[in-house]
Amino acid sequence: MRVGVTVFPGSNCDRDALYAVERMGEEPVELWHAEADLKGVDAVIVPGGFSYGDYLRPGAIARFAGVMGPLEEFANGGGPVLGVCNGFQVLCEAHLLPGALLQNTHMRFVCDRVRVRVETANTPWTAGCEGGEELTLPVAHNEGNFFADAETLARLEDEDRVVLRYVGNPNGSANDIAGVCSEGRNVVGLMPHPERVSDPALGSDEGLKILRSVLVGATL
């Protein structure tokens, strides 16, 4: 499988994501922000960082980069897309995911490892996990406080679209939400960083459970 990783000015987890794809045993493909070309990849990871310096709002400017047009087409056609941290913020700004990420309630950048529960295995990025399974994943963000209006939150819960939930809430996020998926379930946004725990040398490879999920049921 060819897995693309978008690279915006200010992305800083792109290398980790490309390395994690290698650790998955698959082929990593860099997708430069200015090129409107997904290079025939089978899945896309929008990595973390501070795209365009987080100017205006995190993800607000990246959302209009050249690569985003084909990425939106790919996502709307059912292609698996994973946004991590800043990537989650970009996908919300692009309306590929509902809601928005507000500043952490306590006004501090949070850099930690947190316990999260996989709430649904029914997405391409959690298919290799058990529903209800707990994982320990790193978080590092200032705007990770998931917000959606009451109606949208109720819909997300009813439609089983909360993908990860914090066991202890690090940022004030609504309903302890750490990750959600799109209506079509193929687009997933997570605040925690699975790509930062893709190798025992980094302390853990639990993140591969999430990333390798995209191989489950893939017919390639």
Partner: protein, 78 residues
């Protein structure tokens, strides 16, 4: 030379949306001896020079604000 309009856009968190910056400032004012401050909300002021105001509203909706969490107003100042 096309005429230039000066436009001022104000973007702020929607009513009821958590505004931790405003809260922090509200908490800091009494420490300096300023009493009686009930609420503080912090937004963003954007000033632009444009040839026409026709598309300012679209700019506000598509980029300058995020309608999920923010509201905006704008005016031509000169």
């Amino acid at each position: 030379m096309p005429e230039t309009l000066k436009v001022r856009v104000l973007v702020r968190p929607k009513e009821g949306i958590l505004d931790p910056q405003g809260e922090a400032v509200r908490g800091a004012l009494p420490a300096l001896g300023f009493g009686g401050v009930k609420t503080v909300h912090i937004g963003r002021l954007i000033e632009m020079e444009v040839e026409s105001a026709a598309e300012v509203d679209a700019m506000c909706r598509r980029l300058l604000s995020n309608p999920t969490i923010e509201e905006y107003e704008w005016e031509v100042v000169s």
